[in-house]
Symmetry: C2
Subunit: 334 residues, 2 copies
DNA sequence: CTGTTAGCGCTTTCAA
DNA sequence: TTGAAAGCGCTAACAG
């Protein structure tokens, strides 16, 4: 099976020239006779030769490949990916999305590891999705989307998490809910903190108490949300509404409610955050806060390309969020 | 900015040993004194060293990285990606999704180019999404999802396109439609041909004529679908229903209908294919044929890993499709 | 205009 | 148990 791939050496031998000459032809360098160039080109076509990204990148400084590093391919990161992909068209760059399997994403600092692995340089620059540690120096230009620490002195794209959480909670309050639970995100993420802050602020503005018992950590991942969702829904004084820190945990919350024989939105209203496509598919369709993920991906790519071109750009881009009311919330019946 | 990354040489120098020794420690080879090993390990941790995938792959045959090659990150390929990503957890493999920017996906044979670039070996095996040319020998184990030519003597995963198209068209016929247009996919794709065959068969079984004027090529991409959709909808004897070969072109068809002042499903019913999450978000929600994309991704990964482990597996996996009725189709009013 | 040479960071014999 | 040296495929000086 493992027929070794054709190398530049094979091409050189077949064409009767040196590898250096072939390299020049491939890269369009000056100093090759037209006739030679054509002959080499023919051999390249005949053999179906394509230069190895690996070998090339070991030697040269540019590969025209942009990396996008994610902990896992889930709805959020894939939406970003769609945005980046649409924006990369015509820029001359190719895209390489990298994700460790398994729990790598769980370890803080996964982005450092991945970057180290790919650097050197398989990629010219990288987009980090939800990195936990935003270290100072990475060796290559880097843009972060929704980083752990929030904007911290280097290029960042995020959404207005605070306002989004505020309007989500205000929506529930406007519907007459007063006992509103919150399924928080990962404690180490700035976005998570901002969403909780929006929740608290909305309650306070409405003159409602913030009951610590109603706040649980769901951790953004569906699996991790199950247990805390169950706790909230089996409280003796059960909340009549829950604001989950992202759609995945909101959807899981609705599933748990179903298992407990509770109807959404009949017995409990649920609001999510992100507006991933899956939220509209849920039963009932999830009321959520839209985060313009594809636009964020495009913005990140724009920042990164400017960086690669040596143009310094405004270090921080924040895009607006917006409440999307669907079927998982309803007015509280007294 | 470009602080060069720490290399194995840096580690060796700091630890006062040779690079060879460091390499052995990293790879857990025998023949290193425990004390030395510990000292080297400490330096590695201190320096935050991570070996370069690039350099390593140039030398050794395994990288434990699986490639997934796509023409573009759009809803279909990202759904597959989610499936592959969930299945890769715990296998010890990492994932590298690669996509050329721009029109690379348009050129037939893009998968060959990408594979050549990544081979040699950045990746141990690859999953090819909708490859156009399924060449015999690629040098590394390869599994194709929904290939151009259909199952052709090497491992393939696809969905039951014919049955899906059949039930989509039968659904329209059952609703009383008799003039049913078809917006076909890319002419070079087997899946596209099968969907058209399902459409034709359903019409024939119902004793309806297949009017060639009602069949246009939409090409699976949203942009490419606009013109043919417009043509169908402005025909003097306009069809009362359209079966589009995938969701993206179905959604575009609905948009075009809107621009033309036609209501969906009031004036024209529309059915798609794939059931990408976006289809449920469309206005109105799209009736479509579900293709279990995440399961297909998981199946492809399973096949590939078995191949990598030297286990030969059943070369062809076909998953069932299923009609999902939503709001874009309705009974024809006479 | 073309070829020789020297690495890029790493793994792997093979000697010491 | 360790290290020196070769070489993976390629590019970039530099010589011829």
């Amino acid at each position: 099976m493992q027929r070794p791939r054709t190398t530049i050496g094979d091409v050189a031998r077949t064409a009767g020239v040196s590898v250096a000459t072939v390299s020049k032809v491939i890269n369009g360098r000056y100093g090759v006779a037209a006739a030679t160039s054509q002959r080499v080109q023919r051999v390249i076509d005949d053999l179906g030769y394509e230069s190895s990204l690996v070998a090339r990148s070991l030697r040269s400084l540019r590969t025209n490949v942009i990396g996008i590093l994610v902990a896992e391919f889930e709805p959020y990161s894939t939406e970003l990916l769609k945005g980046v992909s649409s924006a990369v068209q015509g820029t001359g760059y190719e895209l390489l999305a990298y994700s460790g399997g398994g729990r790598a994403g769980g370890h803080a600092g996964w982005e450092r590891r991945y970057l180290s692995r790919l650097s050197g340089t398989l990629i010219d620059g990288a987009i980090l999705v939800t990195p936990t540690v935003v270290d100072a120096e990475y060796g290559i230009p880097v843009v972060a989307i929704d980083p752990h620490t929030g904007p911290s002195g280097f290029p960042t794209v995020d959404a207005d998490n605070f306002s989004g959480a505020l309007s989500a909670t205000e929506h529930l309050i406007a519907l007459g809910h007063t006992r509103i639970g919150h399924l928080a995100g990962r404690a180490d993420l700035e976005s998570s903190r901002l969403r909780e802050a929006g929740y608290r602020t909305a309650l306070e503005r409405a003159g409602l108490d913030v009951d610590p018992e109603l706040i649980r950590v769901g951790g953004y991942r569906s699996d991790d949300a199950e247990q805390p969702a169950r706790e909230l829904l089996t409280l003796s004084r059960r909340p009549s509404a829950i604001f989950a820190a992202n759609d995945l945990s909101a959807i899981r919350t609705m599933e748990v409610a179903g298992e407990l024989g509770l109807s959404v939105p009949g017995d409990v209203s649920v609001v999510g955050f992100d507006n991933v496509p899956e939220s509209a598919l849920a039963q009932p369709p999830l009321t959520t806060v839209n985060q313009p993920m594809q636009a964020m991906g495009r913005a990140a790519l724009g920042l990164l390309i400017d960086l690669l071109d040596g143009k310094e750009r405004d270090a921080h881009v924040q895009l607006p969020t917006e409440l999307v009311v669907r079927g998982s919330t309803r007015r509280l019946r007294l």
